[in-house]
Symmetry: C4
């Protein structure tokens, strides 16, 4: 296992680059287009792409959580030592905030901002719960079915979730906090954070419970669309 | 083999998430853009992405059919036990309907709706037959040539079929039924279901017959663009 | 080796589905948008996606050429028996034409058409030569470096070439002939075919000559970005 | 190891095709759309796609640097012989310039141009440093974690970086020089090259230093999102 300092550096660096991508591509896309769907495409494609990159290169060091909800579920599953939980979450939150600040610096915007974008109400909370449920199911199912595909699975899951959830799928408390500090395309009002984070935690816990049953003792069935065997020679 | 309850849960859950993506991203894309091609991109990319995810993580449990036409073909090929056919199809239909309702909840729309979008006539039926023919050929050919690529093959096939078929490629009776219950971008009038489903079944059967001949006793040819061997060392 | 009848069926079927995608998605994209770049995106993404699918599932049967320029190069390299050349090319041409007709049927257009879109002149011919040069280099280099990646390589190469060549990269005589029979987004005037096909053949021959030198006796170098070894354990 | 002449040919050819794609798709996208975000999508997707192709097919010959900043870092790491540094960089610069000229020829533009697009100031330089930092981190981390994924990692990293950096991520001195010779979408004023190149070198050196610590002596941790083991059977 890598020593804790490198693991925390990987969590902070990965969350920073993830947030810089989410916020930066949101600014770029919003500036360049009057069509909000085009802007969302310009926000979605980079986010999915960078997730593949970051999880692939940093996964072997820290597990590439970048997300307190993911860290929480791994701790509950006894797959992360208890003493690492708080440092992981702090590294994610601080890294995420740094990502927002870097995006502002690159786009010549005031470094410190507070978002004024309202994202609240039961429909939004439902969306966040669904989004985080799906994210954890993707991770836990992917680790069971095909671990090497997890970076691609998470990247493509978030690509989809940006569009099928009404909240554009934050699905990550650390990223939500970082996004409250930018008054741009990707922002969320600080006052709306509590509802989002509670919904995310709820979605993650439901997924963890379901996964324990659904992905346990898996054996091959016929006919599998996604065979786990090797390609036929 | 996973027990039947988990297999049915996987079929219902997978079809629900697939339909929530199709319907939800359709609503999102339609709201955000006046350019229908942009909206279709915002509907296509999430659908292809989520198919890769769902087939990868749920394939080892249930086979990841999510589609009565696929279940029918596997049953005809004796690769699914007869007693599982009806439960599979019911799980798919109920899961699909749940997906529509969840999408409505997330987007603050009336939960129960009926589509008013007309999709009928011989050109549309031809399109659905072609779409489902291609889907089954992709699955059966992929299982023969490179089983681990099936999630990617299905995701990319549907990505293409959304655009090259005039019907945007439903290619799935359970998804068609679920989409009749939303009066949004992805909807289809309930009265048009019969034509769509018959065309889908016809396309699937033609593909199954062709595949039996085309993909039988395959051996290597030279020069293969898609070598089945391992990468050269 | 699969018997010749199945190989020819694979070539015809693959070229038909490729052309149906190119022509069909062009019609769909053109109808739905006033922004030509959006239409080209709606034409590009499906084409790249279906190439991955078709080469993966049909490659083991026929080699998945779908392209007389590719067949010509493999014949020159003695990797295709001489007696198969003419049947392959005929299957590709007839399959391609069928693809155009199927697209017209699905979109309720007159089945038989002639394109009126002018595509001629030295800049267009340069573009076609460059496009086909790059395609053959991709195939021959990919077969040497990583055969299992060829379907993805060809799909992504064409995705790029649609945009970086002024001709939108036909790069395929059979597809060019089929596209002369549709007066829609993807069409080309029949009178312009000769220039396109000659340029394509020239580009293919130059790539074949270069590849013989460039990809011969390849051994590992340090530091390889694209290692051919297995992932490290 | 391939002989030096082939390695240099691969570097020149690869950089030429990369620049032809960047410049050519920029011209195409800019001509076809009034929406700059759509144009950037039409520039981004081809660039990411061609990077996957070029690194896959040319990586085994030359390492597929295509970038003096990458060559510099490999030389510092003693993974490239000193005598090859200057030839590599010259091949990249000359290849890149050829790529710009080929793009102009294909699009019937004056072959020799100078860009008038201003790209300067501390925000742009910060963006270039961040972009090149991320590129080198992706390459060095990818080589450590999963060498076969490097072509996909670089393609997707650049896909993201086009959007999250205010400079659209040149991240490559040879490509920057080549882009100074086109007064089109992708151009940069020659006078602005110095600032860009210095920022790129700075970002690359910081990444190299960080990588030496972060990616050293890596061992498995639990729970890894990106497992390095084989898929479970």
């Amino acid at each position: 296992m890598a020593d804790l300092s490198r693991r925390l550096a990987a969590e902070a660096l990965g969350t920073a680059m993830l947030v810089a991508t989410v916020v930066g591509s949101g600014i770029m896309a919003d500036r360049l287009s009057d069509d909000v769907a085009v802007s969302l495409l310009g926000n979605t494609i980079p986010t999915g792409a960078i997730l593949f990159v970051l999880i692939t290169i940093l996964g072997p060091i820290s597990g590439a959580h970048f997300n307190p909800a993911v860290t929480m579920v791994f701790a509950l599953r006894k797959e992360l030592e208890t003493s690492a939980i708080l440092p992981y979450v702090l590294a994610q939150i601080l890294g995420g905030i740094a990502g927002t600040l870097i995006a502002h610096a690159m786009f010549e915007l005031p470094i410190f901002q507070l978002s004024e974008t309202a994202r609240t109400g039961s429909a939004q909370w439902t969306a966040e719960a669904v989004a985080t449920f799906g994210l954890l199911l993707t991770i836990l199912g992917g680790l069971q079915a095909r671990p090497k595909a997890v970076p691609m699975l998470v990247g493509l899951y978030i690509t989809a979730a940006y569009w099928f959830t009404a909240s554009t799928s934050f699905a990550n408390p650390a990223v939500a906090i970082a996004r409250s500090l930018t008054n741009t395309f990707a922002g969320i009002r600080p006052v709306d954070l509590t509802g989002f984070i509670l919904a995310q935690v709820a979605g993650a816990l439901i997924a963890a419970a379901l996964a324990t049953w659904l992905f346990a003792e898996r054996r091959n069935v016929n006919p599998p669309l996604a065979s786990e065997g090797t390609d036929r020679p």
